[in-house]
Symmetry: C3
Subunit: 481 residues, 3 copies
Amino acid sequence: MGLLKEFDQGQLTQTGQELHRLAADLYPICRSLTGDGIRRTLTLIKSRIPLQMFEVSTGTALFDWTVPKEWNIRDAYIAGADGKRVVDFQQCNLHVMNYSVPVHAAMPLGELRPHLFTIPEHPDWIPYRTSYYKEDWGFCLSHNQMLALEDGDYEVCIDSTLEDGHLIYGECYLGGRSLDEVLISCHACHPSLANDNLSGLTVATYLAQFLCGRDLRYSYRFLFIPGTIGAITWLARNRETAGRIRHGLVLTCVGDEGGFHYKKSRRGNAEIDRAVAHVLSYSGESAEILEFSPYGYDERQYCSPGFNLAVGCLMRSVWGTFPEYHTSADNLDFIRPLQLAGSLRVCAAVLDVLENNRRYRNLNPYCEPQLGRRNLYRSTGGETIGAEINARLWVLNLSDGEHCLLDIAERSGLPFSAISEAAELLCESGLLALVAEDDGGEQPRRPIAMKVPRTCHAERSEASAFPSPSKADSSSLRSSE
Amino acid sequence: MGLLKEFDQGQLTQTGQELHRLAADLYPICRSLTGDGIRRTLTLIKSRIPLQMFEVSTGTALFDWTVPKEWNIRDAYIAGADGKRVVDFQQCNLHVMNYSVPVHAAMPLGELRPHLFTIPEHPDWIPYRTSYYKEDWGFCLSHNQMLALEDGDYEVCIDSTLEDGHLIYGECYLGGRSLDEVLISCHACHPSLANDNLSGLTVATYLAQFLCGRDLRYSYRFLFIPGTIGAITWLARNRETAGRIRHGLVLTCVGDEGGFHYKKSRRGNAEIDRAVAHVLSYSGESAEILEFSPYGYDERQYCSPGFNLAVGCLMRSVWGTFPEYHTSADNLDFIRPLQLAGSLRVCAAVLDVLENNRRYRNLNPYCEPQLGRRNLYRSTGGETIGAEINARLWVLNLSDGEHCLLDIAERSGLPFSAISEAAELLCESGLLALVAEDDGGEQPRRPIAMKVPRTCHAERSEASAFPSPSKADSSSLRSSE
Amino acid sequence: MGLLKEFDQGQLTQTGQELHRLAADLYPICRSLTGDGIRRTLTLIKSRIPLQMFEVSTGTALFDWTVPKEWNIRDAYIAGADGKRVVDFQQCNLHVMNYSVPVHAAMPLGELRPHLFTIPEHPDWIPYRTSYYKEDWGFCLSHNQMLALEDGDYEVCIDSTLEDGHLIYGECYLGGRSLDEVLISCHACHPSLANDNLSGLTVATYLAQFLCGRDLRYSYRFLFIPGTIGAITWLARNRETAGRIRHGLVLTCVGDEGGFHYKKSRRGNAEIDRAVAHVLSYSGESAEILEFSPYGYDERQYCSPGFNLAVGCLMRSVWGTFPEYHTSADNLDFIRPLQLAGSLRVCAAVLDVLENNRRYRNLNPYCEPQLGRRNLYRSTGGETIGAEINARLWVLNLSDGEHCLLDIAERSGLPFSAISEAAELLCESGLLALVAEDDGGEQPRRPIAMKVPRTCHAERSEASAFPSPSKADSSSLRSSE
C-alpha cells in the first residue's frame, strides 16, 4: 500500500551509488536516434527489468513523420599531416556530430572549418550537435582544440553508415489491477551525456525495478525511447490504447545538484500535476512548478492536442538553463548519487499518491464519530490534539464521496502520507469506506496467459537496495503484447 | 429594517458594561457537560430571553454517541495532615478536573501526584482539565501550589456524583417571516472561564434580546449547549429540520482584547462567510479570516459532511493561541466591556446583512435613469459625486436580478449599509423592485397558536441598553415545539 | 490582415503632429450638449471621414430622459462701471457656465457672487461648470480675477438662447464582412478642453480614417456624441441593433503625458477587456487596468444592465485625478503629439487583435507535425529555438478548435502579433485551418445599394500619414441607414 514507506526502508545512500554505477556503465556508449548504441543500452537495462524491445523499419509512416535511416558509427577522426589524430571519436563520442554521413577525405583547414563546432565561452568543453533530418557531417571539439589546429591539410574520416534499418525502443509494462496506466518516459538517444539523460534512464530503471512484482492499482508502462521520433513512434503504434494513460511523467535531467523543477501537463491541473506539486512541497529540497509550454522533451508529443495526455516533466535543473547542458561537461561528475536517489524517492512518493489517491465515504457523516472510545483520540480534555488526530478529523470531514485524499491533503496542509494513513486507520475502524470508482476496467487478478520475464526477480533479489515486497505476486507482472 | 442602525442608537459603553455584568453573574458557577451548573446558568439566561430548556436522559443514543451520566459536585479539596485545605474547590472550581468521579481517601503525596495538573510555564495559573469519557479523578492547581506541597499524607476528597440523569441545553427560538433560520450557537459547559465562553454566552443572550420582538426576515435559533455532545444532541434530535439553517455562527472567545478572527464554514464561500468577512473589513478592528478546519468548537458538528451547514465561528483571539486559554487567567479581567460590546455590534451588523441581502431589479435597465430630476444626483455638472450617489449608481448598475446587495457591496468596495440604504431609497423612488425569492416557505404573519414567554418583553424594557423596536410585534416571537 | 503592421508603416511623429493640429482646429469652438458648437465640430470631422449627422428634436423621449432644449451662445461678459469687460467669453469660452440661461442686468458684486465659480487652489485657472438640467446662469473665472473684482455694480450679460431645437450627434459606420460591430465612442460636448475630450475626438477620427476602405472582419461604428444624453439618445434610437456591438471602447483623455488606464467593461473579462490588457502590456508605457465602476463616461450607458455591452474605456490619466481636469489648464499644451499618436497606435493594436482573434484547428493534432521538412524549424539539433518557432509550437499545441489566438498569446506570454503571424504561416503551410464561427451574420461582400461618402477616399489620399491599404475596397465602406 504505502510505496513511499516501503521505499524509505531502503538505504538512500546505497541506492544512489547503485544508480550512479548504472549511469557509469551506460556512459561510454555512443547512442543516437537509431543504431547499435541504443540497442546495447536497452540490452543492459533489460538485464534489470522486464523490457521488451521493439524495432520499426526505416520508412515506416508515423503520423506526419517517417522512421529515419539507421545510423551506426565505428570510428571517426581528424588527423594531421603526420597521421596523428587531433580529434578522435575514440576519446569522446561527442566529437562526431550525431547522424553524420560517412566521409573520408583530405582537405585544407579552411574547407574543414564549416564542419567544426565549438563553444568559445567554455573553451575546454566539447559541444553536442546532431543533424538528424538533414544529411550532413561535422565534428565537435573544444575551442582550445580548434585554436591549436594549424593551417594545412587534414585527413577527415567518419566511418559511419546511414542506411535502411530500424528504429528501436524499449518498453517495460508492469500490469496492475487496472488497465489504466501510469506512463514513465525517458529519452535514450543521447551519447555520453550524463544528466541528459542517463539520469532519467537510471531513475526509470530503478523505479521499474522497485515496482516489479508488487500488487499495484495501476498498470505501469516505462518507455526508453529515442527523443521525439521515439515518442511519435510509440504513440502512432499505440494510438488506440494511449488513452489508457491516466498519469505520466517524462524524466530528464534528474541527477544534477539543482533543485527540482516540474513542468505541468498541458491540462495544467491534472492529478499528476497536483500530485507532483504536493510531493515536491514536502521534498525538503527547493522546488519550482513550471507552467506547460510546448517546447521541451517528449511531453511535447504526449501533450499534443490530439492526445492531450496528463503527462508532465520532472527535472532538477531545466535543460538549456545550465551551462553544462549539451556539452561534454554534462559528465559523470555532474550527476550525484544522492541527487539521483532523491529523484527516485520523489518518483516513489508521487506513485504513492497516485496509487492511494481514492475517494472515501464517512460512514458516520452526521456529526463526528466518537473517536475516543475507539482509542483514536486523546483522552484528557483541555489539551490540544496532534497531527495524527488532526489528519483523522480532516479525512472524516471531507470524505463525502466527492473529495479524494489528495484534495484533503491539499486543503488540510498535511502531507499525503499522513492523510493516507489516517484513511487506512479509519477504514480498519469501520468509520470509512472506499468509494468504488471506474478505473477503466479492472484486470482479472490472475490473468491466464502470462509471460513473466525471468530477469525481473533475479535482478531484484541480487542487486537491489530496495526491500522486497511482502507478497511478491508474480502474476501481476506482465509484458506488453 | 436596518438592524445595525438601530443597534447604533444604543450606547456601546453601557451595553459593554451590561454584558460584563452578566458574565460576572455567571462566572462563579461550576458548569460542566451536564449537571446543575449548566442548569443554573440557563435559568439565569432564561430570565432575560425566551429560553426553552430541554433535558435528555443519560444513555440516549445520538448518532455515534450516547448521553453521558450527569455529573454534579458539591465540594472537593486536598487537605494536609493538619486538616487545612491546600487545594480547595470552594476557592476556584477549576481545581477539580471536570467530571472527576468521587473519591475520599488518604494517600501520600507520591500517590497523589499523577492526579495533579499544573502549568509550569505559568506557575500562578490553574489549568482547566476534563475527563468526560474516561472515568478518572484529578486536581488542577497552580505550579507554585504544587511546589509548596510537602511530603506526607493528604486527605483527598471529591464530593461528586456521576449518575444517570440528564443532559440539559437551552434553546431560544425567535420566529421570523421565513421558516429559514439563522443559528447562533455557543457552548455553556465551561466552569469559571470568562472568554471561553462566558463571552459567547453573554453576547448571544444580548443578541437574542436585541432581536426579540422585531419583525424579522429569518427565524433565529440560539443554542446554549454543552460543547460537542450538546451540538450532537441537538442535531440528532432535529435532524430533519436542521436543513432550515441557512446561516449560522458559533460564538466563542469574543471578549478579549485581541482582533477578530472568523473561521469560515466548510463550504468556504457561504453567504455567512462573505457577510462576516465584509462586516469585519469595516469593523475598525484588526480582523483575520481563517479557512475552515475540522478541529475547533461546535462548527465541527454543524459542518460534518452529513449536515454541511453554513456555520462559521466568530472569535477574537483563537482558542489555544493565547496563554490564558483554559487556565484560571481567563478570568473576568481578561474580558473587556468594550470588546464584548464590539463583538455584539459585529453580530448585529452581520445579521443586518443577512436580513437585508436581497436581489433587486432595476426597473429602468436601459441606460441610467435620470437621477437629477428625482433629486438623487448633484445639480452642478463638472464636480465629482459623493459616496451616496456612487452607491446608487452601483445598485442600479448591478441590480439585474442576479446580483444580491452583498455582491454589490463587495464589488463596489462600499459598505453594505451604504448599498442597502441606496437600494431602499431607489425602491422608494420607484426605480428598483425587490426580486421575489423562495425563502423556504414564509410563515403566516400571525400564527394561530403562540406561546410568548413572558420574560422577553419584561426584560427588554427593564434592562436593555437597546432602543425598542418601533413596532414590537409579539406575534413574530415564538418558542420552539 | 495585420492592422498594427500596416499602422507601423506610417510615421508616428508625423501622425502625432496631425492629430494635434486637428485638436488645435477644434479647440476654440464652444461646444455644449447641443447647439452650433457641436454642429461645427462634427462638420469639421466630416471633412475627414464619412460621417452622418443626426438631429433629434427637443422633447423627444429617450428611455427615462427627454432631449433637452438647444443651447446657443453668442457672447457673454461681466463689465465694470467703466464698461470694461472684466470677464469675457470671447477670451475663453469656459468663462460661461455651460447651458446658462440668458441674462442682461446690472447688479452689485454681492448679488453677482453666488454666480461666480473659481478654483482657489489654482488661482490662475478657470473652472469648467455646467448646468444642463437646472435652468441657471453663472460665470467661471480664475480666482485671481475674482479677487481683483472691486465692490460696485457690474453689467452682467449672457447672450444665449435656450430653446426648442435639436440634439445633434455624428456617426461614422464602416461596413465589414460581418454585421457584428466594434463601437468607438467619444463625447464631443466639452468646450475648450483639450484632453477631455479633443484627444478622444481626434484619435477616433484618425482611427476611422485609418480603417476607411480596408477589408475588415467587423463593421465599425464611431460615435461623436454629447456625453450621457448622446449615448442615451443613440441607444434609445438603436435599441434593437445595439446587440450587434460585440466590442467597444470609449476614448477619453488620451492625449496627456500620463500612463495608460483601461477601465474594464461591466462584464470584466470580455474579449475587449483582454485585448486591451494584452496590448497595453506590450505598449512600452506604464499601464494600469481598472475594474469597472458605474461612474465615468458613456460606458455608464453602454454597460447599463439592460444593454451590458462589452464596452470599456481607454484613458491615459483618469478624469478627476489630475488637477488640470475640467479647468482651463486642460489646454493644447496639456496634450502632446506623441501621446496622441501612441494612443492611436494602441487602438490600432487592439483592433488588430479583434480582427484577427480567431480559433484554428491543428490539422495534425497527433504529435507535432515535422516542421523541419517545411523549413519551419531550425536545422541543427542541440541548439535552442527562437521566438518565432516557439510561437509556432504554441499555436499548434493549443489550436484544438477551443482556444482563440488571444488565449494562446496570453498563455504563451508572447505578443498577439507573433502568435497571429505564426497562425498565418501555419495556415499557408497547410498545418492549420480556421474554425468557422458564427459572426452574427456575414454581410454580402458586394452589397447592392451603397452610398459611399465621397469624403473618405479624398481625405485619405490627401491628408493621411497612414499607408494606403493595398486593396482599397470601396464596397466595404458604407454609411448607416
